[in-house]
């Protein structure tokens, strides 16, 4: 019988903020207390932020569908409850049974963002588990990670027993199967890890030892016999085989993205050279219009949400999106249920879609991402958008009644000059002029252009993985330059914190030596680093120093494509040759087309993984 922590937790809830985070009992939550094999899936941030994560909903569905197997959920409690739990010695608990996380067979953790890594340590420690894999044994749950960060897993690899690279629909079933079998056979932890390493897509970090050359530079990894030299990502060939969850857990709490989210396609082949998601989630696999409409209607009916969001990396690129939106808005007319599109392209078609979705109702705001201020730089990053595209979009949007658009830009992109930075301000000014010109006189005062500027962070597995990140003081200088060249009236300028981006950049391309840094920062009190008010650069710099790591070398240093990278033994299916070629095209300001519409551009993902692009309900 597993311990029920509720009687010890409940008295703490009276003193905790938002107790709804911890009470379970939501519609759609599943509880199978008698299952023989039990997994707990954790999002390493508070419930409010993690609840909407679609990957966890999918895995929760998949694992709970297995005979004799139960999956429960866990989130990291907010800092106020963590403090109470630590003082009352209440360990981290699952939601469904309120059982200690340490009592489960499998502890699955999604790793969504570099700055949540200290939260992973906090979760392991709060569960009473040693934070390093090497200090855990058969008496502890098997700790398996997955998610966007695994495409350079090295900095956090030592905290996990195994990591799944890529998509989990099928792999999670195999991982559970291997673990159940090992348990039944009484295998040791080492033997279990050997079996897991044989599951396609599973990376067992302890089987890969980083090597250094005489100068101390990274020189590749030594791979233990029997483990694959390169772990190739898992991918499901088509989404049709995996119906979207139609009854995900419906939260009581007002969470981020509180709506029914339906994944309409996976992958994006636009080929933006800075975009890790676009590189690592290839190829494009669409759901058919019929499936989307069926699942949206079913999902809304079962969850009771009043909004359905058609999610993907680029929903306007779905070949049947207009048909889907027309059918859905017709079906939902008069029901008070709305449709939302999270990502729009910079083109007239997207505005027409947004008009369809908004109908006569409220026009809340439109978001577009030109990313750079000059055509040259947009060509460098392969963002195939022209200034004319953007201005046409603005004309149409303000003509149609929108009074606010949000624009995303980055500074610090490779080859960027002061001219490119200043051009962002000039472009915003032209957007503002066009917006006002298309707004009736009395309403012109309400026109708003929100401009959000982030710092480019080069990511692993992209054509820019070798580029130096812009140094912190230079980022601050260019931010100031942009501030001076952006109109004030009618423009809201927002910055992504440059210090956070610096540490994100260190984490994104560091090697295994960073595990010591993460652990030192966490021991010094770093958690919830993704919350700007809790982020402390000083603490990270001290942690780097104590671990003997130079963070500027990792983030801002030059790298040669001839030298090994810490993540070379992890493959998203894109050969180095393709990334190098795209890098060369970038420096020549040459663009590359989208293979979902044009011809194959030679990224080799389809050949390597044995899959194809799926659009329009069929294969290309």
């Amino acid at each position: 019988m597993r311990a029920d922590l509720w009687p010890r937790l409940e008295p703490l809830l009276a003193r905790a903020e938002r107790p709804t985070r911890y009470i379970n009992r939501e519609w759609g939550a599943r509880h199978a207390p008698d299952a023989d094999y039990r997994a707990v899936l954790l999002y390493p941030d508070v419930y409010d932020i993690g609840q909407a994560n679609q990957a966890l909903h999918i895995l929760y569905d998949r694992v709970n569908a297995l005979e004799g197997v139960a999956a429960e959920r866990a989130y990291l409690p907010a800092p106020d409850l963590i403090e109470l739990m630590r003082s009352e010695e209440v360990p981290l608990f699952s939601l469904e049974s309120c059982a200690p996380v340490s009592s489960f067979d499998l502890f699955g953790i999604t790793v969504p963002y570099e700055l949540t890594w200290t939260n992973v340590l906090e979760a392991l420690d709060l569960s009473g588990l040693p934070v390093r894999s090497r200090d855990r044994g058969s008496e502890h749950p098997l700790v398996v990670g997955g998610g966007p960060c695994v495409f350079n897993p090295e900095p956090f690899a030592p905290f996990f027993d195994a990591l799944l690279i890529g998509e989990g629909e099928d792999a999670v079933v195999e991982i559970v199967g291997v673990h159940q079998h090992a348990r039944a056979q009484g295998l040791s932890r080492a033997e279990l890890l050997e079996r897991l390493a044989a599951v396609p897509g599973v990376y067992v970090p302890s089987f890969y030892e980083p090597r250094r050359d005489d100068t101390g530079a990274f020189a590749g990894v030594a791979v233990r016999d029997g483990a694959p030299a390169v772990v190739l990502k898992r991918v499901v060939p088509e989404l049709t085989a995996h119906r979207a969850p139609t009854c995900p857990v419906v939260p009581f709490l007002d969470v981020v993205h509180d709506r029914y989210a339906l994944e309409v396609q996976r992958g994006c082949t636009r080929g933006c050279r800075f975009c890790q998601a676009g590189m690592v989630y290839r190829p494009v696999r669409e759901r058919s219009a019929d499936d989307i409409v069926r699942d949206a209607v079913a999902g809304l009916g079962r969850t009771g949400y009043d909004e359905v969001s058609l999610t993907s990396l680029s929903t306007a690129d779905h070949s049947q999106v207009e048909d889907v939106v027309r059918r859905l808005t017709r079906r939902l007319a008069g029901s008070g249920v709305s449709v939302s599109l999270p990502s729009l392209r910079v083109d007239a078609f997207s505005v027409d879609l947004a008009r369809l979705v908004a109908g006569a109702g409220r026009k809340s705001g439109l978001t577009f991402a030109p990313e750079a201020g000059t055509q040259r730089l947009r060509n460098v990053i392969n963002k195939n958008v022209t200034e004319e595209d953007l201005l046409t979009v603005v004309d149409r949007a303000f003509e149609a009644g929108w009074r606010r658009v949000k624009l995303y830009f980055m500074i610090g992109l490779p080859t960027e000059t002061d001219e490119d930075v200043v051009a962002i301000g000039a472009l915003v000014e032209r957007v503002l002029t066009r917006a006002r010109a298309n707004t009736p006189g009395p309403q012109r005062g309400s026109v708003r252009i929100a401009v959000s500027v982030s710092t480019f962070v080069p990511k692993a597995q992209t054509p820019f993985q070798w580029e130096p990140q812009l140094a912190l003081d230079e980022v601050l200088r260019r931010q100031q330059l942009l501030r001076e060249h952006t109109p004030h009236k009618g423009v809201e300028l927002h910055w992504h914190d440059a210090e956070v981006s610096f540490i994100e950049g260190v984490m994104a391309r560091g090697g295994r030596e960073l595990a010591d840094v993460i652990e030192a920062a966490w021991r010094a009190g770093a958690t919830f680093d993704a919350w700007t008010e809790r982020f402390d650069l000083g603490r990270w710099l001290l942690a780097c120093e104590s671990a003997g790591v130079d963070p500027t070398m990792i983030a801002n240093g030059e790298r040669s494509p001839d030298k090994p990278l810490p993540w070379d033994h992890i493959s998203a299916g894109l050969p180095r040759g393709y990334l190098v070629r795209e890098r060369e095209r970038a420096f020549a300001a040459e663009t590359t087309s989208d293979c979902s519409f044009g011809g194959c551009t030679g990224c080799d993902v389809c050949q390597t993984l044995g899959v194809t692009v799926i659009t329009g309900g069929g294969r290309q």
Binding site: L13, T20, R25, D254, G301, T303, Y305, D306, G336, V337
Partner: protein, 230 residues
């Protein structure tokens, strides 16, 4: 009265762990239940169409309710028993609707009509004696006013008005049980827990747990008679 609309009143509970829900969370949860049940709810016209539904007086986070109310307007008549059954099937257990009936569209709103709340509070703590607690409560109520701080704001309650009946205090093995009637007002209502904690402080003691349940919310006739809303 909107022609063709039927105002349907539902009594539901807020129990168990779900007493930790805020009022807004209860509202959202029950709106979602109504949608899941496929009830033919009316939608407001206007810029941002939403379900036509109205709730009774809010319950604080942590307070349970035995008999809370909502009114939802339906666009066609559905037999109450069938609609209630449909709603029960898709509502989390501890938020269960247990009674439903149609009311006249001319009836006053729930928040305006429901002015009396009956509470029961289980107070746990060492050395808390029923007679002493009752005496302290009576002294406080007789004293006139109670200032309560909530979320940084101070509110002053006229206790003679807010507590129209003498509280009943019964001894329990681990403390006391208090039954308390509170008159609610548009400017905010006295939380029984605040009054109880003040009374305990007056006699130099403290409760380890105060668990409050609103047993009933009532309307008041012109003659001053209390009854459930119909």
């Amino acid at each position: 009265m909107t022609p063709g609309e039927f105002r349907w009143r539902v009594a539901y509970e807020k129990a168990g762990r779900l007493r930790y829900l805020s009022h807004l969370e209860v509202v959202h949860a029950l709106e979602r239940s109504i949608r899941r049940a496929g009830l033919p709810f009316a939608v407001t016209r206007g810029f941002s169409p939403h379900m036509k539904v109205a709730f009774g007086p809010a319950l604080p986070v942590g307070t349970a309710g035995k008999r809370e109310y909502l009114d939802v307007w339906l666009t066609r008549f559905a037999p109450s028993a069938d609609a209630l059954d449909a709603l029960q099937r898709v509502t989390p257990d501890d938020l269960g609707p247990h009674e439903a009936y149609y009311v006249s569209d001319a009836a006053p709103s729930l928040t305006a009509a429901l002015v009396i709340a009956k509470y029961r509070a289980s107070v746990e703590g060492r050395g808390i004696e029923s007679e002493e607690v009752h005496a302290a409560l009576s002294r406080l109520i007789g004293g006139g006013e109670l200032a309560v701080k909530h979320k940084g704001k101070q509110k002053v309650f006229d206790l003679a008005r807010c507590v129209p009946e003498d509280p009943r205090v019964t001894g329990r093995p681990d403390g006391v049980r208090i039954e308390l009637t509170v008159r609610m007002g548009p400017q905010g209502s006295l939380r029984p827990e605040a009054l109880i904690r003040a009374a305990l402080a007056d006699i130099g003691t403290e409760a380890s747990v105060v668990r409050t349940t609103r047993l009933d919310t009532l309307v008041e006739s012109e003659e001053g008679v209390w009854s459930r809303p119909v």
